[in-house]
Symmetry: C2
């Protein structure tokens, strides 16, 4: 249990950008990464299992941050909204995914052995 | 851009347990996974680059959820707090990590090609 100086901040995961780390937004961004031509509002809603209100709110956040493009158009005379990753959004999301991979590498290195059942003698549970 | 029925909820990532997904708690849990014998409060604080107050608050949440054990003891006559994953916490965190891996698999499958620059003719940015 000796303290290793080089572990300082090792698990701070600064790269886990909170804007992108939010669970619903992570789903939206991954869907959009997988659909390079973009997705209609209703397609996104269905894939991410979000309500209209929730999806709108998250898209607004992502749009204001410049991570996605939102396009308006008509199909069969019905208004449609198309969302897709912006170039900046793509770059930032890929950087986020690198940070996420680091978490999984750290966890994998921790190994799969169960923890030992002992604590130092005389210690008591809080 | 055809809608595929089997994509419904595909990116909802229900397994991304919000309790564990929170960035600081993700760091705490990964540190603890990597230190099976547990970590002292100050070691955790340093590795996760958290303030005393922040770390205390997150440990309380994790403890109340039964994910970690907190032990109190003395070393060189000074009070110490030892934290470690509980059996349930370990199981739940490993399940969370599986969900996280799914995100990365989905993102990897999306490929690394840049998106095309075109949108349907006549569509306008929001």
């Amino acid at each position: 249990m000796a303290r290793k100086k080089d572990d300082t901040g090792r698990y701070a995961y600064e790269g886990l950008d909170r804007l992108l780390h939010e669970k619903a937004r992570l789903g939206i961004l991954t869907s959009l990464l997988a659909s390079r031509e973009g997705l209609r509002f209703n397609e996104l809603k269905e894939r991410c299992a979000l309500t209209d209100g929730n999806l709108s709110r998250h898209l607004q956040v992502l749009h204001e941050a410049g991570l996605i493009e939102i396009w308006k158009g008509f199909e069969n005379r019905r208004p449609q909204t198309l969302c897709r990753l912006s170039g900046a959004g793509r770059t930032r999301f890929l950087a986020y995914l690198d940070a996420l991979e680091q978490v999984l590498r750290d966890a994998a290195r921790a190994g799969a052995e169960p923890r030992p059942a002992t604590v130092p003698q005389g210690w008591v549970p809080a």
